[in-house]
Structures are given as C-alpha cells and as structure tokens.
C-alpha cells in the first residue's frame, strides 16, 4: 500500500514521464510485451551509458521514450546463464543452467516467463537466434505458442537434430554439436562432419558471392548458419503485426555476438584513433595483445552499430503500426563482451563490468518521455517486471523484483544486493565449488574466485563510484568490507546451493 506521499510522488513521476493513466486491466486491455535481447551486447560499449563512440544512435532515440536503467547486470557472463535468468527470474545458482548448452533444473521447466504469461491469456512467441538460448526455449516449448527455429530464417544452415530428433532435441543437439562440428574443431564424426561441410560449402560460396558487396567481411554466422539480421527483424515486424492480442514475444538476436561481420556501411565507422584505458593482464588472460583487442573492439563496435540500425528500423515500424502505444518493449542483453586484460569476448571466469553490465531500457505503452533509474538492477528482475506489467500479482518464487509499476512508473527499489556468477566448472546436480561470483551492493563490487587451480579464494573489491574501470583492488585495504560482502554473498549462495541431486 502506498502512503499519500508515495502516491503523490508516483503521480508526479507519471505525469513527467508522459505515461498514460491506466485503470484495472481487462483481457482486451492487456498490453502486449516484446522482449528484445541482443546477444553479447555490453552496456560499456553504448554511448547512452558513457561510451565515447556513438555506437547506438537509434537506441538513444528510443531512450527518449523509455525508462533507462543505468546499472543493469546480467547474472552471468555467457548466453545460457544470462538467458535462463531472464526467462526464469532466478539466479544461476538456483536455475542451474551453468554450462553452455545446459538447461534449467527439470523441476523449474514450468516456471518461466512463457508459462506465466500464457497462463494470463497471452499468446507467446519464443525465438532465439543463438542455439544455446534455443535449447532453453526448447525446454519451455510447452508454454510457447509460436516457437521459431533459427535455421528457418538462415541463408545457409546444416542443422540435423531439429529435423530428425525433434522429440529429443535438447539432448540430440548437444551430441550433434560434438559429432558434427566443423572439421577444424575435431568433430567426433570426422568423415560425416567433413561430408556435411562439403555439401554446405557450395551453398555457402554461392550465398557469400551473392552478398559480397553488402557484407565484404563475410556474412554473420552462428553455429554453421549464415544469416542477415535484416531477415530476422523483418520476421519480428511481421509477428508483431499478426500475433493475436495480447502477445508476449521473447526475441533473442545473435548480433553483436562474434564474428563481427556488419554490413558494408558500418565498416570503418570508427577509424577514430580511440584507445581504451590500458589495464593490467589478469590471471585468466588468454595471451591476447592489446593491439589485437583494440582491433576486435572496433569491429565489435561496428557490429553493434549494424544491430542498432536494424533495431531502429524495428522500432520505427512498430511506431508506424501504432504498436508502441499498446506494447511494452524491453531492450536488453544476456551478457556483455570484453577486450581488456588480455581477455577477448566473454568465455572467461572473470566478471568485470564489460562482461556483465548489460543495457536495459523499458518502454511502457504510450510512454513519450525518458526516465532514468540509477539503482543496481539484475536480469532476474525482468520476469517480475513483466508480470507486473501484465497486471499479475507478485511472484513468491522469483528472486528479482518488479522495476516498474503497471503503468511504467519506476518503483522504489528496496536496498538489496545484486549477483553475477560463472559456475561453468561446477556440476548442475552438485554443490557449487568451482567458479566466480560477484556481489554488488551500493557502489561496491566484490568478485570472489574459488576452486581454480592456482587461483583459489581470491578476492577483488572495487568502489565503482570512484573506480568504474576496476583498477584499484581494495580487498586488502578494506578487509572488513570484503568480509561483510563475502558473508552476504555466501549466505545467498548457500541458501540456493544443495549438496546432492534434489
């Protein structure tokens, strides 16, 4: 229950943000929801969040009619963990999709965004361009009305499991990945993989020739599929126009995930001599020199700009259709990307800001002005926020909290820690022994490494207000704060942890 003062505050904010007033929601009044997740998009590479390059002008335009969350964190550093948290509202130590290609615990299969909104009368749509996230969508397919496969819009593809072993796709695709991966990656079935590659190569060459002028660096690729983001955006536009109301769509686009192959007009956009702040090499460095990382950073920024252009096209089209007046549009990512400390991309046990800071922008139906939220938020907040947007009651099981009220007013966030983690080295059904976890509380961030050979029980403590680049480790200078944060981290981890298979 709001106090009179809180009510007046909310009313004032609502007016300022250009949010439409709203009464109780009937079935026909329920707003549509469209979640757009762009894979591996780091908030640290977006001008809206302080990056010096203008990588996302269309997102900046969209921000003018959205709520911008300035300190939003993914729960993990790669697709599976981050996406599973977006879809379940749980941290990885609870949903347990800890490794690439993993799924959440069987007992949680029915506890997801699609189930929640399908139960509230929504027509649900699930699409992931990334096969790792696609495995999760497959797990939730019982609650997804329109489940689209990435290959259905690819220009060239050689998928096997979803054609032959659909009933057991979640397991079959993992064996397919091991058996039929490219010959250079040592597939388990060398000849079969080589044969498939040979068969595909003719098609691939034809398509590459066809698009050479538009994509001089080559077409974007993903798990053997060649694609153009344009086709997926066109499809999304079509779905938004044709899905029954109300709908909830989760659309997970591959760009700007590597390889960074944008359209021609975005190549060379950032020949500006920009050099990021030099940072010391980390224990988990991969032997990448800074010149290599800077070059890749520039390519990544170009690829982001390509994704932004397509995102802008989608938003403009939705606007023209009038869909921005009756649809919540959420722009976010599953994790970030990094080009520093000798580390390239995001398959890393580290949890530095570039790899866990994600964008989060939420446009409420009819919103015409910008709002800014500076409190730390997490990927686990998405599900409770969308539940609130759909007019559903608070969820006891979700580990996040609603960020906005049903009309799009930012809610007063309770003082709480936010967590990120990487437990690739720990078992799904066993205790979490090997991994990295981080806790963010106020301006402070503690990163804790445990169970690694030669890097066990290591702490890094940063004051992000004073040291946003995470260069000054305070763990020895402020042991009391380190211990306090570590106890809180351990308390939450242990509450979710289990010693054996449940």
């Amino acid at each position: 229950m709001l106090t009179r003062r809180e009510f007046l505050k909310v009313a004032a904010v609502t007016g300022l943000a250009g949010l439409p007033a709203s009464g109780p929601l009937g079935m026909m009044d329920k707003p549509n929801i469209l979640v757009l997740a762009f894979d591996a998009l780091s908030a640290r590479h977006i001008q809206l969040y302080g990056y010096p390059r203008a990588t996302m002008p269309n997102l900046a335009r969209f921000a003018g009619r959205s709520t911008v969350f300035h300190r939003h964190y993914s729960t993990g550093s790669f697709t599976t963990t981050g996406t599973a948290s977006l879809l379940t509202g749980l941290y990885p130590w609870s949903h347990r999709a800890l490794q690439p290609n993993a799924t959440v615990l069987d007992g949680l299969t029915g506890q997801n965004l699609f189930a929640l909104l399908a139960g509230a009368g929504y027509a649900t749509l699930g699409f992931s361009h990334n096969l790792l996230a696609n495995i999760l969508l497959y797990q939730f397919r019982g609650d997804i009305r329109e489940f689209m496969l990435p290959r259905q819009l690819a220009l060239v593809e050689n998928a096997v499991s979803d054609r032959i072993f659909w009933k057991d796709y979640g397991v079959a695709v993992r064996a397919e990945e091991a058996s039929l991966k490219p010959v250079g990656q040592r597939p388990n079935s060398l000849l079969l993989a080589g044969l498939l590659q040979f068969i595909q190569s003719a098609d691939e060459q034809r398509v590459l020739r066809q698009y050479r002028d538009q994509f001089p660096r080559g077409l974007p690729t993903n798990h053997g599929m060649l694609y153009r983001l344009e086709d997926y955006i066109d499809w999304t536009i079509q779905q938004v126009a044709s899905l029954p109301r109300p709908f909830m769509g989760y659309v997970h686009m591959m760009p700007p995930h590597d390889p960074y192959n944008p359209r021609k007009e975005f190549i060379g956009l950032f020949e500006d001599g920009y050099r990021p702040l030099a940072k010391p090499s980390h224990h988990f460095q991969e032997g990448r020199d800074q010149a290599f990382l800077d070059e890749k950073r520039t390519q990544y920024d170009e690829f982001i700009t390509y994704a932004d252009a397509e995102f802008g096209r989608l938003v403009d089209e939705m606007d023209a259709q009038g869909r921005l007046d009756d649809t919540w549009v959420i722009f976010t990512s599953d994790h970030g990307e990094m080009f520093e400390r000798g580390i390239y991309r995001h398959i890393t046990p580290t949890l530095y800001e570039p790899v866990v800071r994600s964008p989060l922008l939420v446009h409420a139906p009819g919103q015409s002005a910008r709002q800014d939220v500076f409190a730390p938020t997490s990927g686990v907040d998405l599900l409770p926020t969308l539940a609130a947007a759909a007019g559903l009651p608070a969820l006891a099981w979700a580990q996040g909290q609603p960020l906005l009220g049903p009309t799009g007013v930012p809610l007063m966030l309770t003082e709480r820690p936010v967590f990120c983690m990487d437990y690739k080295g720990s078992a799904k059904f066993g205790p979490l022994r090997k991994g990295t976890s981080a806790i963010l509380r106020g301006d402070h961030k503690l990163i804790y490494y445990s169970g690694y050979d030669g890097f066990d029980e290591i702490y890094e403590l940063y004051d992000l207000a004073e040291d946003p680049e995470e260069l000054n480790n305070l763990s020895e200078v402020r042991p009391e704060l380190r211990e306090d944060l570590h106890s809180e981290l351990a308390e939450h981890r242990d509450a979710a942890n289990f010693p054996s298979k449940p």
């Binding site: 800890l98 072993f165 397991v171 064996a175 040592r186 799904k428």
Partner: protein
C-alpha cells in the same frame, strides 16, 4: 571389413568423446548422458555404413583376384594410417603446417606399404593378425551402436 571399418571410426569417436563426456557429466543426468553418448554412437554407425558403401564401391572396381588377396589388409592399413594421421594433425591447434606435411607423408608411405604387402610376407602376416583382433573390437563397437540406436529410437518415440 565392416568390423575393421567400425573399429577405426569408433576409435576416433570414442577418443574424442573422452573430452565431451566430462563436460556432459557436469550438466546432464544419467538419462541425458546415456542419450548423448547414444547419439554419438549412432553418428559413428552412420559414418561406418557410409565408409563401407565407399569401400564396396571400390571393391567392385578392383579386379577380383587382387581384391581376394589383399583388399582387407589394404583397408586395415589405410584405417590405421588415416587414424594416426588424423590424430597427429589435430595435435596442431592451428591445423596449418602439419596438415599438408602429414598428408604428403601419408601418400608417400601408404601406397608403397600397401603395394609391398605381397613382397613382404611378415608385414602381411602381422597385419592379418592385427586385423583379426581389431575386428573383434569392431564387433563390440557395433554391438554398442545397436544399443545406442535402440536408445535413440526410444527417446524419440
């Protein structure tokens, strides 16, 4: 011939699966793990039949008197050599220098050895002895494939 082919192909598959299985154990329950291994075996079985089809085609092209004497031994030698080459190639993560170098080694060693089998009875006897034993393992692998195929069918019912 089938057993020798199965042996060579499955040796490669199982050797490489040793890398995948520990990662699978971290994220799969027993049923899923059995399923994933079964799919890998089914792919190996498909690969075995594919190679067998190729060998049969070659067999039809080769004159009967030549085929009768040495074809099995040539195939055994080919698989052993090819497996060794593949393992050696993939030790080099860049797959650049060694790939071409070892391909030449293969071509320049396999054909003289295969051609010299008749002239070198000890090698021929040794290879025949080896082929006999390896074929036992090959049949064992084919038995595992049959179980894998059954599991895959059940999982997809």
């Amino acid at each position: 011939m089938l057993a020798i082919t199965a042996f060579a192909i499955h040796s490669w598959t199982i050797f490489n699966m040793l890398v995948d299985v520990p990662a699978w154990i971290l994220q799969m329950n027993l049923g899923e793990l059995t399923g994933a291994i079964s799919y890998s075996l089914v792919y190996a079985l498909a690969e075995t039949f594919l190679v067998m089809a190729g060998l049969l085609a070659i067999g039809f092209l080769i004159p009967a008197r030549v085929r009768k004497d040495n074809f099995l031994l040539w195939a055994t030698l080919f698989f052993l050599w090819a497996c060794g080459l593949a393992l050696a190639v993939f030790q080099d993560p860049t797959l650049t220098f060694r790939k071409q170098w070892l391909a030449r080694v293969f071509v320049f060693t396999y054909f003289p050895l295969a051609g010299g089998l008749s002239l070198w009875p000890a090698l021929k006897r040794g290879l025949a002895w080896l082929a006999e034993r390896l074929s036992l393992l090959g049949w064992l692998y084919l038995g595992l494939d049959a179980a894998g195929l059954l599991i895959v069918i059940i999982r997809n019912l």
